[in-house]
């Protein structure tokens, strides 16, 4: 169900499609290679270190530090209704990087490179179809988790 991921989804078919189901249930998952143990976020089915295609998901804390960011004012087709929005790249505590929107708990003027952030699973409440993503929030922000899998 990877078509759930992202406000606009360009890649409905992927070997890591369970990621979106986990995210809908409140779990942020990275991948771990079963052969060499290399981990990755974003998750990948085929290991970048040893090329093995045998992987498993593991749950991340979502804690990280802001690497860089931008406020996008001139937006592409499909994002007019959320413009302007702030995109950040985060160095995750467990390794890897994520690109995500800033959420409401962090005011724009408080955003600084190097600040600690919490990546939080989100569902687009205002859309009828299921659309999931994650946002960058204040450290300590909590959220509900379920397990429908």
């Amino acid at each position: 169900m990877f078509k759930w991921f992202g406000k606009v989804n360009y890649t409905p078919y992927t070997k890591v499609s369970d990621f979106a189901q986990y995210l809908k249930d409140g779990h942020l998952m990275g991948s771990r290679c079963k052969k060499c143990g290399a981990t990755s976020f974003p998750p990948r089915a085929d290991c970048g270190a040893c090329m093995s295609g045998d992987f498993e998901f593991y749950e991340l804390s979502g804690k990280g530090k802001l690497h860089t960011f931008t406020k996008i004012v001139a937006a592409p087709t499909g994002f007019e209704d959320v413009t302007p929005y702030i995109v950040g790249v985060v160095d995750l505590e467990e390794g890897g990087k994520a690109l995500a929107w800033f959420g409401d708990t962090i005011p724009e003027e408080g955003i600084q490179i190097g600040m600690e952030v919490q990546m939080v699973p989100r569902i687009f409440e205002e859309l009828e179809e299921i659309k999931v993503y994650y946002s960058l929030e204040q450290p300590g922000t909590t959220w509900a988790k379920t397990d429908s899998r």
Binding site: N9, Y10, T70, K71, A74, P76, Y85, V87, K97
Partner: protein, 290 residues
């Protein structure tokens, strides 16, 4: 390659693009997908947005300022005003650039190159045929290409383009020259920070010193190396498919001494640096005159 292999002895390389039939949101949507589409495009990333994040990080690590970034645009408009083929043939001031609308912070309108229509052509020939066909042949002495991961999340850093460093190293080695030998260069200034990172990736200055380098006018004619004295992508315009060929055209004109009021004195070694996507690949050429 086909000339070297003996298949052809003269080849026309033609680049063209017509971009103005689409509006900005459609172009942003199409070009935003040169980024990684699975984990990034769903957050509405754009071409300016990616380079804006490079700029923010460059400012954070090296103290590069907004004024230094926009000095690139001021320079390129200065020379674009002298180029009859440029889209924008007018000078701008730092004050005007700083007052322009936001695109993707810290970028404003004048940090960004323009979507444009254009075409360019270069005639390549074997050494023997080139001497018969031209009074002033220009020699392609070095070329290199480099690649980097599709996703910016898997790059070693976000303050330069590793593909450009690789391409430059290969081209310099093949031509037997170094950055200090280059008198004139056309680099891929799709955004202001892209030109500053190019100075650093090509070795014109040390890593992190690209901001002061342009602010001290080292990339104007008369400085250490003249960069984008045809106006660059910024003022000449960026018709994507034509841009790389137009760079070779410009450097050939410079090496032949035919660049008019934009002529770089004693230009004997030139360089082109053309980037694909957001640095997923890069090509560098070294050109020389007799």
């Amino acid at each position: 390659m086909s000339i070297k292999a003996g298949v052809h002895d003269v080849v026309a390389v033609i680049g063209c693009q017509k971009m103005t039939e689409l509006g900005t949101p459609e172009i942003l949507a199409l070009m935003g997908r040169v980024g990684e589409v699975q984990w990034e495009s769903g957050f509405g990333t754009t071409f300016p947005g990616y380079y804006a994040m490079f700029a923010k990080r460059h400012m954070h690590e090296y103290g590069t300022t907004r004024e230094q970034l926009l000095e690139v645009a001021v320079k390129n408009h200065h020379y674009g005003a002298m180029n009859p083929y440029a889209l924008f043939r007018k000078e701008i001031t730092l004050e005007k650039a700083l007052a322009s609308e936001d695109v993707a912070t810290p970028f404003q309108v004048y940090d960004c190159c323009a979507n444009a229509d254009g075409a360019a052509c270069v005639i390549l020939a074997s050494e023997e045929r080139a001497r018969e066909l031209s009074q002033k042949p220009v020699w392609l002495d070095g070329m290199g290409c480099g690649t980097a991961s599709m996703s910016v999340l898997r790059r070693p850093n976000l303050v330069g383009l590793p593909s450009a460093e690789q391409a430059a190293a290969a081209a310099y080695e093949m031509a037997g020259v170094g950055p200090g030998d280059v008198k004139v260069a056309d680099v891929h200034d799709c955004f202001t920070v892209a030109e500053i990172m190019a100075y650093e990736d090509l070795g014109f200055c040390k890593k992190g010193e690209g901001g002061p380098f342009v602010a001290e006018r080292q990339t104007y004619i008369g400085g250490k190396v003249a960069v984008n004295v045809d106006g660059g992508l910024k003022a000449k315009g960026h018709p994507i498919g034509a841009t790389g060929v137009s760079m070779t055209y410009e450097i050939a004109k410079q090496l032949r001494g035919e660049a008019g009021e934009r002529q770089v004195p004693d230009a004997d070694v030139g360089l082109t640096h053309n980037v694909g996507g957001i640095g997923q690949y890069c090509f560098v050429q070294i050109l020389k005159r007799d």
